[in-house]
Structure formats: C-alpha cells, structure tokens
C-alpha cells in the first residue's frame, strides 16, 4: 500500500495528465512530494543505522584475526575464512619445528593450508555443528508442539464455554510474567532430580511451555476473528466438529499459525539463559556456545562473528519466507477484514 502512494508522488500526475488511478490532491502538491521524499530518505537512513551492527558482524565474520581486532577498525580488508575455520575446528598452535615439518607436506587440503598459514594445525571438528543441530532440533520440535497444542486450546477457549475461562486465560498469560532468570535455578534443580538436565526432551519441554502461553493468546485472537457460522455451516452440512475444524478453521487461520510459529521459533532459537543453565554437553544449543569462543586464546572476534552470522541465517530464511503472514500477524485485530 505505502509503496503505491510513493509511486504516485513520483509519477506524472496532475493537470494535463491522463488519470490512471485516482489520487488525492494533497498527495501530489509539491510540498507533499517534498515531504514524501524527505520521509523516504529518512527511512533509508534509519534502516541503514539499524543494520550497521548486522553489517559489521557479517564483515567481521570474513576478516582474518588481525583485521578483526585492528584499531582503528578496517572497513576495507582482504576477505578470509579464518573465522569459519576457527568455528568448525579445534586447532593447536605449532612449535617452530613442527611448523617447518608440516610445511613440507603436500597432502594438505585447502583448510589445513589456511590454518597452517596462521601457524596452527587442525586437530579435529569442533562441536559447533552438533550444537547448531541441537538448536535446530530443539527449536523446531518445541515450535511444532507449542503451535499444535496452542491451536487446540485456543480453539477451545474461543468456541466453548469453559468454566472459569477468563481465569484460565489469565493464568496461562501469567506464566510469562516471571523473568526466565528467576525460575532457572528451581528448574535446574528439578531437571537434575528427574534426569532432564542436558537432554533434548528437557529443553523441548521447557521451550514448549514457555511458548504455549504466547501461542494460545495469539491464536485465540486469530480464531476469534473467524465467524463461527462457517463451522456451523459445516456442522449442518454433515461434518463432525473435528472435520469442521480441519476443513474450515485450519485453512482460514494459516496466517495466524505461520505468524505464531515464527515468533515461537525465534524465541526458542535465540533463548540463552535457560540453555546456559540447563545444558552442558549433549544438548547444548548454539546461543550459549558461541560466546564460549571468547575463552580460547584471547577474544576471537572473527570466530564469534562467523558463529553469529551462521546462527542468524535460519531465522532470516524462515522470516523472509513467511513475511507476508508476519505483517498480518503483528497487526492482527487492528483492522476488521
């Protein structure tokens, strides 16, 4: 919508031009055009300012270590894959003798030669791949669970007279009122007692519970907007309640499901505090793992940047794929269709 307005302002409209689309006079006066141009430029500047940290991260990811820590910072640099090698491997610093010996070898691959140039040898793969896949497993499973359960309970809350409905809804919302930090210690103790500490199941369960309140509330809003007559029509047409839900309600709240899923996924994907406290080896997710690179032989900024960038990509892809639903998702309820 906004883009068509801007197009009007710059297209040839006004007296003497054929009317292609109607336009309000106050949108094409020179002052209005100037205003629109100014707003456009301002938005571009703000967007750029907002994107600088992301851009900086992406640049750092491709810097060699000396470039990454150079002061003043380098904007123009020779790209390097050092950061990614550091992220995916464990390395050891070689002595001068060992270095000379290694340099004689001709069977080294591209990555090993790159590492050797820094005076290091690759010992083996790091845990990052498994941590990233932990993140994927936990985030995707908990999102599916939270959205499925949320959808069913939101439907029930929307369509049935449940005794104490408002209290239940408030209770569900209230589970999100405590900051995560407050409950991590008790949950840590409980998880250790029941053997859920450092397990995928434990993390999936936790993120599902955390996302459920959000998912119930958001989806209830979407289902409330679907007129009940559609289901009643399906009931009269010979369908059961469940069939009506599947054939009529579900297709109509795809938008809501997509929006809810993205929000849940982002939460589970980015969550740091619980993951730090409740996982160590087996189920450790990426967010607490990436800053752990701080420790190994000084601050490896280029490694951290490389990790952060890889970590960002899945969310960016999902968000981009579902962007049309998201816009509707964040403005839901604001406008009646």
């Amino acid at each position: 919508m906004a883009s068509t307005r801007v197009e009007h302002a710059f297209s040839r409209v006004g007296p003497g031009f054929a009317v292609v689309e109607s336009v309000r006079v106050d949108q094409i006066t020179p002052r209005a055009r100037l205003g629109i141009t100014a707003r456009l430029i301002l938005s571009i500047i703000i967007a750029f300012v907002m994107l600088i940290p992301v851009l900086w991260m992406a640049m750092t990811a491709f810097k060699a270590r000396p470039d990454a820590t150079a002061s003043p910072p380098k904007v123009i640099f020779v790209p390097s894959l050092d950061g990614f090698i550091g992220l995916f491997t464990n390395r050891t610093q070689l002595s001068a003798a060992a270095l000379a010996e290694q340099q004689q070898r001709t069977d080294l691959n591209f990555w090993e030669r790159q590492t050797l140039a820094r005076g290091m040898r690759i010992l083996g793969p790091s845990k990052f791949v498994s941590q990233l896949s932990n993140s994927l497993i936990i985030a995707i499973s908990s999102t599916i669970l939270a959205v499925t359960l949320g959808l069913l309970s939101a439907y029930a809350f929307s369509r049935y007279d449940i005794p104490g409905k408002r209290d239940w809804l408030f209770f569900i919302l209230s589970t999100r009122m405590l900051p995560a930090v407050v409950v991590t210690i008790p949950i840590f103790l409980m998880y250790r007692a029941v053997g859920l500490y450092d397990t995928h199941v434990g993390m999936i369960l936790l993120y599902t519970v955390f996302n459920l309140s959000f998912s119930v509330w958001l989806l209830k809003g979407f289902i409330d907007e679907i007129p009940i007559e559609y289901e009643e029509a399906a009931l009269v047409d010979g369908y059961s309640r469940l069939q009506a839900f599947r054939k009529i309600v579900l297709p109509q709240c795809v938008t809501g499901i997509a929006a809810t899923a993205v929000f849940c996924l982002i939460f589970a994907w980015n969550e740091y505090a619980f993951a730090l406290m409740l996982t160590s080896e087996k189920a450790r997710t990426a967010p607490p793992a990436i800053p752990a690179n701080l420790g190994i032989g000084g601050i490896e900024w280029h490694v951290i940047a490389a990790g952060s960038m890889l970590f960002l990509i899945p969310v960016v892809i999902v968000t981009f794929a579902l962007r049309q639903y998201l816009l509707r998702g964040v403005t839901f309820g604001a406008i009646r269709q």
Partner: protein
C-alpha cells in the same frame, strides 16, 4: 420432505428465558415464518430446530423421530445463514459440493447434483469464482444452492435476506418463494421484516419477549391479531388502538368521539359484565372518511403514498402531542385526490367487518361470540 414438531421446547441462558416453552407443528411442505423484533427468541428457536443450540426443555421431532439430542449433522437439515457463511477459501463449485462430500458421494454424482442446482439458481457463470468476489445477491444464491444440493428434509433460514441491499432483497424474496414452490420443501424462515413474513409465509409465528404471541396465516395475524402486540407489530403502520369506555351500545373513545358499536359485537361486549374499559382496534383501511362519520379528529399530518393518502388524525383535537400519554393519533387511509389541510377537521366511520376489540388488562383480543 418432513414435518417438524416442537413440544414444549424452551431455552434458558442462565436465568434468562430466550424462548419460553412453545408448541409448534410445521407440516410437510409448509413455509413457516418466525417473525418478531430482535431478541425475541426467533433465531434461538431456529437454532434449536437445527441442532446448533441444545434445548433446555422439551422435545423436537422431525418426521416423528425424536431428534432432540441429535447433532446438527445427523438431522438432515439445511441452514441458510444471514451472512451466507460461504467458505472463503473454496470456489463456488467447491462450496456447493462440500455438503455432498461429507456423505462420501461419488464424483460423477456430485457433479450431476451440482449441475442441477446450478441450473435451478442460474449461477453457472460463477462456479470458478471465490465467495469474496461475489455480490450479495449472488452470495445468497450460492448459499441457497449449497443448502439445496443435499436435498435435505427441511430448510432453516436465518434472515437470509437481511444482509442484502433493498433491490436484491425483492429479487431474492421472489426467488426463495419460487424455489419453495418448485421443491415443495418444508421451510422455517426467520425474519424481523413483517412484509417478508406476510409475503412468503404459509403461516406466521409471531414472537415477542421469548414467547409465541400468535400462530396463524398472514391473513389471520393481519386481520385477527391475538393481542395488542401482534396488532401493533403487523402492518406498517400497525393497527390503530384507541382506548375507550363501553357505555350502552357505544364506546366513548379517548378524545371525545362516541363510536356506536357494530350490532354483531354488542352481545359479546355486553357480556363482559363489570368491565367497561375496552380498546378499539382498526386498520388504516377500515376507516371511511365521510361528512357524517361518528369519529372526528384533526388532521395532524398527511402523507401521499401515490395510490392513497395516509392521514394522521389527532382524536383529541390537539395539534401538539400533550406528552402525558393521552395523545391519540390514528392513521387512516383516505383518497389520494383530496387535499387535507393540516389542522382541518375530519370525520370518519369504521367498516364494521374490520373493527376489533381488545381487553386493556390482559391485552388479548376479545373473541366475538357467535350466537345461533
């Protein structure tokens, strides 16, 4: 097709009666209109028949079979909603075929049935469109097609024309009536529009305040309203209701006119011993303006309706409503070619066949005793 019977059916929401216990039998092939102001319980009654709402008391029978506790999908009924409830994500064809798919019908037979109703409703050109792209009238045609396609035992319609523009409403009214006559299907039709109910219904059930006020043919509810509510609600304007005192064989109307009662009514009215207050009711067309008319009043306003003039006559001779509830303005039909000056005196008589009397206390119509 089917006969629907309601026995002492009632619905309570909390402590509030939505529908007080009511009896109603809708005969096979009959078109019954449930008529009443909003909130009178007519839609709740329809939803109870459909099974979308559970009854609080009573039983419902369709074709003699007790369906009180059957779900909507088991009752073999079709429901037409005010806002059409066409599934927005499906095309018109898919919408119409949807009820048949629930029965696991074969594709060829579904296509044939869809083709039949599409032809009947003349909506062939819309089949590939989606509901949001249709006009109100077309949406309702598709909704009707969807209800017809299954050949249900009966049709339940909840203000199906309420969401349409005036011009479509006329057209669709005729169309629904035509379909009813062609299909001869038992139909229950909810409306708040008494013109619609009068025009379409074989019988009308007038409801108000959760209660059935009268069940009768359009002519019965129009000419012989059972009580003051029906008298006032049916017709636009409603029946004129003038309170008065019965003295001898005359009624002294509020406003001072003396109306000699029709001889046929005298025994009935005289038999109401100990009671002398009565309400005289008459339709605008029952009045006949004449020089020697018994009832007189002052012209308060006059509206030209084309074929006739509707005169608003103040019986107490005041041009201003006096605000103490004593105003008695009646509507009478007069000739279109006579100009009535506001404030001028007018006299009229009542057609004795068309006068009705009501008991002010019970608000019920007084039945005329026929003596042999």
């Amino acid at each position: 097709m089917a006969e629907i019977e309601l026995r002492q059916v009632a619905k309570k929401f909390g402590d509030l009666w939505a529908v007080k216990p009511m009896d109603l039998t809708i005969y096979d092939g009959e078109f019954v209109a449930l008529l009443g102001p909003s909130g009178c319980g007519k839609t709740t009654t329809l939803r109870m028949i459909s099974g979308l709402e559970a009854v609080t008391e009573g039983r419902i029978f369709i074709n003699g079979k007790d369906v009180t506790w059957l779900s909507a999908s088991q009752r073999d009924i079709a429901f037409v909603f005010q806002f059409f409830a066409l599934y927005p994500q499906m095309t018109v064809r898919q919408n119409i075929a949807f009820p048949l798919e629930s029965q696991g019908m074969k594709r060829a037979e579904i296509n044939q049935r869809v083709a039949e109703v599409v032809k009947l409703l003349e909506i062939g050109h819309l089949l590939q469109r989606k509901p949001p792209a249709l006009s109100g009238g077309d949406k309702q045609r598709v909704a009707l097609a969807r209800s017809l396609v299954r050949k249900p035992a009966c049709f339940l319609m909840d203000e199906p024309l309420g969401a349409l523009d005036a011009e479509f409403r006329e057209v669709m009214r005729a169309e629904i009536k035509r379909l009813h006559l062609a299909q001869h299907a038992t139909t229950v039709y909810v409306t708040h529009d008494q013109v619609e109910a009068m025009a379409m219904g074989d019988r009308i059930v007038v409801m108000s305040a959760a209660e059935v006020q009268q069940i009768g043919t359009p002519a019965q509810v129009y000419h012989d309203p059972a009580n003051l509510f029906v008298a006032n609600f049916i017709g636009s304007p409603g029946m004129n209701l003038v309170p008065g005192k019965y003295v001898g064989d005359e009624v002294h109307l509020r406003g001072g006119s003396v109306y000699p009662t029709p001889p046929a009514w005298r025994p009935t009215l005289a038999a109401r011993w100990q009671r002398d207050d009565v309400i005289v009711g008459f339709r605008p067309e029952a009045a006949q303006v004449s020089e020697t008319g018994a009832i007189r009043g002052m012209v308060y306003a006059s509206d030209l309706h084309g074929s006739y003039t509707m005169l608003h006559v103040s019986l107490n001779g005041e041009l201003r409503p006096n605000g103490n509830g004593e105003d008695t303005i009646v509507h009478i039909r007069a000739r279109r070619d006579v100009h009535y000056v506001i404030g001028s005196l007018v006299r009229f008589d009542l057609n004795p066949e068309m006068v009705r009397f009501f008991d002010p206390e019970s608000e019920k119509a007084i039945a005329k005793e026929v003596r042999g």
